[in-house]
């Protein structure tokens, strides 16, 4: 057999990878290649399948079908340790670092050189040093990790991967919590590593960084390959159009008519604890649905939680129908008619072991009790049954624990809790996550009905189709700031994505 000298040999190649999770097709016949000493950026919207693909490579998930070759040998990666031994290192977005240990102990965690069971501390330190040098980390190996900045901790994670002789390093959103100068440093480290022949898969929403460091861009969309850009083709616009791709058929938006500008909700200069330097202001008229788009981590949920009063009040003010309302607790917001249907229904929206009726009444028990604080079960049940009927909640009875209901019906129970009261602003945080198509449509219809009754609605969603189809206006957030508010005629995925990755609305 002849060796084909001219054909580049890939360090890694994935072919036709399929992966299905219960109810979701996460990856459909995805191909991915990377050669020695190459930096490949993997881009895509939330839920496009980037993490699933990388988790398959890192041994976290197994593919349903498909072929993975490392150095032209077919492999199956059944576990994280197997990925390690194949030379695949994974630096996760959430750092897997033990901050009670020092740097060298983290680098050699689980692989400590030992003698008679005693860890040879000085040997570890000696072995760690060269990796720190390579990464330009000017610290002693016995520095406690807790004393390092996030950027330095990230580099320690990379050192750990290098110490396992990783040939391919996957970096998942490595810069999401780094400062600007730390980011620059990391990009330098990446190009150094590339020069040493290490391949890097770089996942990021920050398209600026991608164009700065990537040799090639691979885009995924809806679990499929969306396209590849060579080094000289990498531009902001081309990446955005690859990520967004298809034209959407618009869900027809029947509305606008009932919007009353004189009434509604307004917030001025509120501050969230995640982005304390950014002030957020916006307005939602009575009868209007304001969609809020942005990438994961843009600070949208934090804005919702701050308005609702479960996150601390760090400043700014909130108005309902022009009157400033009292803030500082969820109770105060609820009393002013501000309600939140939170993102994580099971954790914050519902007490899943409680029955439907108890969940519906939880926020308004005072209404269902007498002067002595004794609950009137009759009135509680009547209200619950009204909501079950109105929202078409499919449940055997009002006494069924909500844990036994489907996701869509659970979401309706959360709504039932608030609709049994008197909403002025209803915040939906990812209202249709994990909900089937039928229930989705019902929830959209309900939102519009509520708006028509004069409720102001804030809908936070990472689902583009949903944001474009349902909203009257769309506010886009990026790193704790509203980068733009789009009117109906400006609704395009490109516009939204452009703002979501930090572009300004003028360009």
């Amino acid at each position: 057999m002849k060796t084909e000298l001219e054909k580049p040999s890939f360090a890694l190649s994935m072919r036709g990878v399929n992966k299905t999770f219960p109810g979701v097709k996460a990856l459909t016949s995805v191909d991915f290649d990377i050669s020695k000493g190459e930096v490949v950026a993997l881009i895509g919207e939330n839920g496009a399948g980037k993490s699933t693909l990388m988790n398959i490579l890192g041994g976290v998930h197994q593919p349903d079908s498909g072929e993975i070759k490392v150095n032209d040998k077919i492999v199956t990666i059944k576990s994280v340790s197997q990925a390690d031994s194949l030379g695949i290192g994974f630096v996760h977005q959430e750092l897997n670092i033990l901050d009670n240990l020092d740097v060298s102990a983290n680098v050699y965690l689980g692989r400590e050189p030992r003698k008679l069971g005693i860890i040879q501390k000085n040997i570890i330190a000696e072995k760690t040093n060269p990796f720190l040098k390579v990464l330009g980390l000017d610290i002693s190996p016995d520095t406690p990790v807790a004393k390092l900045s996030i950027g330095q901790q990230q580099l320690v994670e990379i050192a750990k991967a290098l110490s396992k002789e990783a040939k391919i390093i996957i970096m998942d959103e490595p810069t999401s919590s780094l400062t600007l100068s730390e980011t620059d440093k990391l990009l330098n480290v990446i190009s150094d590593l590339r020069d040493k022949g290490i391949s890097i898969i770089y996942i990021s929403h920050r398209l600026g960084e991608v164009s700065a460091c990537a040799d090639r861009v691979v885009a995924l969309r809806d679990g499929e390959n969306a396209g590849v850009l060579a080094k000289d083709e990498i531009t902001h616009n081309r990446m955005v159009s690859l990520m967004v791709g298809r034209e959407l058929e618009r869900t027809t938006n029947t509305n606008g008519s009932k919007i009353d500008q004189s009434k509604g909700f307004e917030t001025k200069d509120i501050i969230t604890s995640t982005y304390p330097n950014n002030k957020v202001s916006f307005k939602i008229s009575s009868g209007e649905i304001l969609g809020m788009a942005g990438l994961v981590g843009a600070g949208r949920s934090e804005v919702a939680q701050t308005i609702f009063g479960v996150d601390p009040n760090l400043g700014g003010s909130v108005y309902i129908d022009g009157k400033e309302i009292k803030r500082g607790s969820a109770k105060a917001s609820i009393n002013s008619g501000i309600y939140l249907a939170p993102e994580d229904r099971k954790r914050t929206g519902l007490i899943t072991q409680f029955d439907v009726s108890m969940n519906v009444s939880l926020a308004s028990l005072e209404k269902h009790s007498n002067g002595l604080g004794i609950i009137n079960n009759e009135s509680e049940k009547i209200t619950a049954n009204q909501q079950i009927e109105k929202l078409n909640i499919k449940t055997p009875s009002a006494e069924t624990p909500v844990i036994n209901l489907s996701g869509g019906n659970q979401q309706k129970v959360v709504l039932g809790k608030w609709l049994s009261m008197n909403p002025k602003l209803l915040i939906f945080d990812e209202p249709t996550r994990g909900i089937d198509v039928g229930a989705k449509a019902e929830i959209y219809k309900l939102m519009r009905q509520l708006a028509d009754k004069g409720v102001a609605i804030l809908m936070i969603s990472s689902d583009m189709e949903e944001v474009i189809g349902i909203s009257d206006r769309i506010a886009v957030m990026h790193e704790g700031k509203i980068t733009g508010i789009l009117g109906r005629n400006e609704f395009t995925e490109e516009n939204i994505m452009h703002l979501a990755v930090g572009g300004s609305s003028e360009s």
Partner: protein, 371 residues
């Protein structure tokens, strides 16, 4: 009462199972302690009027503080300070009713004035409740771990009790007040209280502490199972975050559970120290916190929070007391009593969680591996 109990049995397998265990224990003990010959169960030592009176007195005292601890457990917390608090409050209460010159030479003994017994009762309740407020704020408001906060309580209240009593026993007999009526209230029977010590008949076999327990059970039963506040307790215990997201100040709700526990402990401490007649601070009330936890858990409270009932706690308490009484009446060595109690709780909880099959599995493992 009967009606709500029936509804209970329908809804709560746990309580039903434990009630079965209690009845089984009663039948076994009655059978084992019956007079010689084939006589009716009802003529056993266990079912004698005196024994029943003693048991119900103990159930009364233990039941009251177990209700407090049970409510804390329903909020997904724990209260380990109960036994030590009983010792401290016992010392304080006896200091209140004894003249300063009879007390040992210690700092608390010097600062606590002698006051009439009714005032002493009220102040003791107040101090217990205040300690509950303190622990409640630490756990509910400052979000310190309940286990740690009340463990510190367990150590420091006992230490304080021993220090302030100079580690000697404090006797109620040192009091120069006329405490006859207090004694009736504390260790006497319903008829003692009604007829000033001349009671007899059925009412005479109902100890006051049992009456108190019934009042506590009804009051806290309504509070926990019928009121808005009770709903908040269960909600906060199940899912504190979701409860907060419904606009409920869970910090206060959780803190209040510890206040209830402090009050219940203080209330139980008084009849208990009158009954014992003296407080030996090193041992008074030792392990009571664990009996309370055992009673609550036996009665269906989950240490994960959000589960449990007052009736369950009462049944759990009764099981503990009947078990101890059984060990006594059967003439087993007293030191064995805790071991037997522990074993029964273990089997009871195991049966409840996994059913009979798991026990079978545990015991069938050996023969299988032997083959």
């Amino acid at each position: 009462m009967n009606n709500s109990k029936l509804g209970f049995i329908n809804n709560n397998r746990r309580e039903l199972g434990m009630l079965g265990l209690l009845i089984a224990l009663i039948v076994i003990t009655s059978w084992g302690t019956r007079e010689s010959g084939v006589q009716a169960l009802f003529e056993s030592k266990f079912l004698s009027a005196d024994n029943l009176k003693n048991i119900s007195r103990e159930i009364g005292i233990y039941g009251i503080f177990s209700i407090g601890v049970g409510i804390v457990i329903i909020t997904a917390g724990i209260d380990l300070s109960v036994g030590s608090l009983m010792a401290l409050l016992g010392v304080v209460f006896l200091y209140f009713v004894t003249p300063p010159e009879t007390r040992p030479d210690s700092f608390l003994a010097k600062i606590i004035p002698e006051i009439p017994w009714l005032a002493a009762v009220l102040f003791t309740l107040l101090i217990g409740t205040a300690i509950g407020v303190f622990q409640g704020l630490l756990v509910g408001k400052l979000k310190l771990q309940a286990f740690i906060v009340t463990l510190c309580g367990l150590l420091s209240y006992r230490g304080l009790a021993r220090f302030s009593a100079d580690d000697t026993s404090i006797n109620i007999s040192d009091s120069s007040q006329n405490l006859e009526f207090l004694r009736f209230l504390g260790e006497g029977s319903l008829s003692d209280v009604l007829s000033n010590g001349n009671g007899s008949g059925f009412l005479h076999s109902i100890p006051m502490s049992f009456i108190y327990l019934l009042c506590f059970a009804i009051f806290f039963g309504v509070l926990l199972h019928k009121s808005v506040f009770g709903r908040y307790i269960f909600a906060a215990g199940r899912n504190e975050l979701a409860t907060k997201y419904s606009g409920i100040n869970t910090n206060i709700v959780i803190a209040f559970a510890y206040v209830i526990a402090g009050f219940c402990t203080a209330f139980a401490a008084i009849p208990f120290c009158i009954y014992t007649g003296s407080v030996q601070p090193a041992t008074h009330g030792a392990f009571f916190e664990l009996y309370a936890i055992a009673a609550a858990v036996l009665g269906g409270c989950s240490l994960r929070g959000g589960e449990g009932s007052i009736i369950g706690i009462l049944i759990g308490t009764a099981i503990l007391i009947v078990l101890r009484n059984m060990v006594n009446l059967f003439g087993y060595p007293t030191p064995l009593s805790d071991a037997i109690t522990g074993g029964v709780i273990f089997v009871g909880v195991l049966l409840d969680q996994h059913g009979a099959s798991s026990i079978k599995r545990i015991f069938s493992k050996k023969p299988v591996s032997g083959n």
